[in-house]
């Protein structure tokens, strides 16, 4: 694995909603095989950052590059770029009118024009990997939240993306289901999947991250190896943020 090869390059990114500056001159790169976890208080811009990486938001300044190709909202080139970026959202976003298998096979069939046989086989193998091979013909309404999110992960994985973007994928889950979903993500990390993860699960962040990026007020306040960041944060703002996750009476 060549750690110097960049998958994502963000240069001086500026994102505004009206007069509100959400991301302020932000630069960040993600190397192949790297797992970057974005943390920070709500409203700090971490979800917006992921959305910009996938071209879901127009940006007001700077550039976002995937493998040296610009990701631009509203451009035709976006269709090709998006196939290389997997994204899973916080709310269960499976298509309710399709079975699990159809949810997964739709875009490899229609976007990548792969053969139904190969795609189905691939889908079943991936479902097995996340422990849901018996749910292939179920509808999303028959699944628990945790199962839905595992299917959503598979639906992105089957496109063989260069990077997976996970936007608070366990935030809407019941606590007992968080584990099963995060285990899948840990498995992906171990098999070398490049990922950018927004999460509020600090223990998980420490376990999965190669690098932690702490965002506040639209800028990167601190970044570093998870062990250092969580146990010996350098900045006062990061210290204050991490304190909100510990309890004592």
């Amino acid at each position: 694995m060549n750690m110097a090869e960049h998958i994502i390059d963000i240069n001086h990114l500026v994102k505004r909603f009206g007069d509100n500056i959400i991301l302020n001159d932000l630069s960040l790169s993600v190397s192949k095989g790297e797992v970057v976890v974005l943390i920070g208080p709500s409203g700090c811009g971490k979800s917006t950052l992921l959305r910009c990486l996938n071209g879901l938001e127009p940006i007001q300044g700077g550039t976002v590059m995937l493998h040296g190709e610009p990701v631009e909202h509203g451009k035709a080139s976006l269709y090709n770029i998006r196939q290389k970026i997997g994204m899973v959202f916080q709310s269960y976003d499976l298509f309710p009118h399709m079975t699990v298998l159809k949810n997964i096979t739709l875009s490899p069939l229609k976007v990548q024009n792969r053969s139904r046989e190969e795609v189905t086989e691939n889908a079943m193998a991936l479902l097995k990997r996340v422990g849901l091979e018996d749910k292939a013909n179920s509808y999303p309404s028959e699944l628990s939240g945790g199962q839905k999110q595992r299917v959503a992960i598979v639906r992105s994985l089957i496109m063989n993306p260069d990077i997976m973007l996970l936007d608070e994928i366990t935030a809407a889950l019941d606590p007992e289901m968080v584990h099963e979903v995060l285990n899948v993500v840990l498995g992906l990390a171990n098999s070398g999947t490049t990922m950018m993860i927004v999460t509020h699960e600090m223990a998980f962040a420490e376990a999965v991250a190669d690098r932690v990026v702490f965002l506040d007020g639209g800028v990167i306040v601190e970044e570093g190896a998870p062990k250092e960041f969580f146990h010996d944060p350098k900045t006062e703002r990061a210290q204050r943020f991490l304190k909100t996750f510990t309890y004592s009476r």
């Binding site: 996938n54 879901l56 269709y79 090709n80 998006r82 196939q83 970026i85 997997g86 994204m87 959202f89 709310s91 976003d93 298509f95 309710p96 009118h97 739709l106 875009s107 229609k110 976007v111 990548q112 509808y139 309404s141 959503a152 639906r155 992105s156 496109m159």
Partner: protein, 217 residues
């Protein structure tokens, strides 16, 4: 009840029913097309076209069909445009129905949440594919009940066609009452004719709705 009267004039009702259904079906099909176009214009917020559609919808929904028909049949000839009764019926129905259909389609399209669209987009699906595979199937289960109500509403509205001398069911009934005073028989056949036309449609739609609801979740 004078059965011989009914027997004698039933064919006239059949003929009128055929005319009512023919004009109704053509008008409703046109209304569906107009409705779809208007709904897409509003959904994608296409500039200029959007304002035109808004004016059309207000005009169409807030004036009675009989006024629209009078405008077509008695008003337009003053401007040198002569339309047959049949043409007036079809155009009037399409004009009225288009706005109702537009609202039903639009409520369906808008029922599909933003996250659904974004997930579809982020899987690399193109705009047309998102529409075809994600939006329309989900919108249909919301739109179909409203569409069904519109179809039945519009078929019933055809009963004012006689005002522009179209020999529809209402026209035949009024004619017979005027000529023979067999009011009971004439009206009974009128009610029966409308039921024969509309009940089966109503049943087909409710079956369809039930099936879509099952597929929808």
């Amino acid at each position: 009840m004078d059965w011989s009267f009914i027997q004698k004039f039933a064919p006239m009702y059949v003929e009128a029913a055929v005319l009512t259904v023919t004009i109704g079906v053509i008008g409703i099909l046109l209304a569906v097309v107009i409705g779809l176009v208007c709904a897409l214009v509003k959904y994608y917020r296409i500039p200029v076209a959007r304002q035109i559609v808004a004016v059309y919808i207000e005009l169409s929904r807030n004036t009675p069909l009989i006024v629209q028909l009078f405008f077509l049949y008695f008003g337009l000839p003053k401007a040198g445009i002569l339309l047959s009764s049949e043409a007036c019926g079809i155009i009037g129905l399409a004009f009225l129905g288009g706005s109702y259909m537009a609202e039903s389609f639009l409520s369906g399209l808008r029922s599909v949440g933003k996250v659904q669209l974004e997930s579809a987009e982020s899987l690399g699906l193109r705009r047309g594919q998102v529409m075809r595979y994600i939006v329309i199937p989900q919108a249909a289960s919301v739109s179909v009940p409203a569409l069904a109500a519109n179809v039945i509403f519009l078929l019933k509205e055809t009963s004012v066609f006689s005002a522009v001398s179209l020999a529809d069911l209402m026209y035949v009934a009024k004619d017979l009452i005027g000529m023979y005073y067999n009011t009971g028989e004439a009206l009974t056949m009128l009610v029966a004719a409308y039921l024969v036309i509309i009940l089966p449609i109503s049943i087909v739609f409710s079956v369809l709705e039930r099936r879509m609801r099952r597929a929808g979740n």
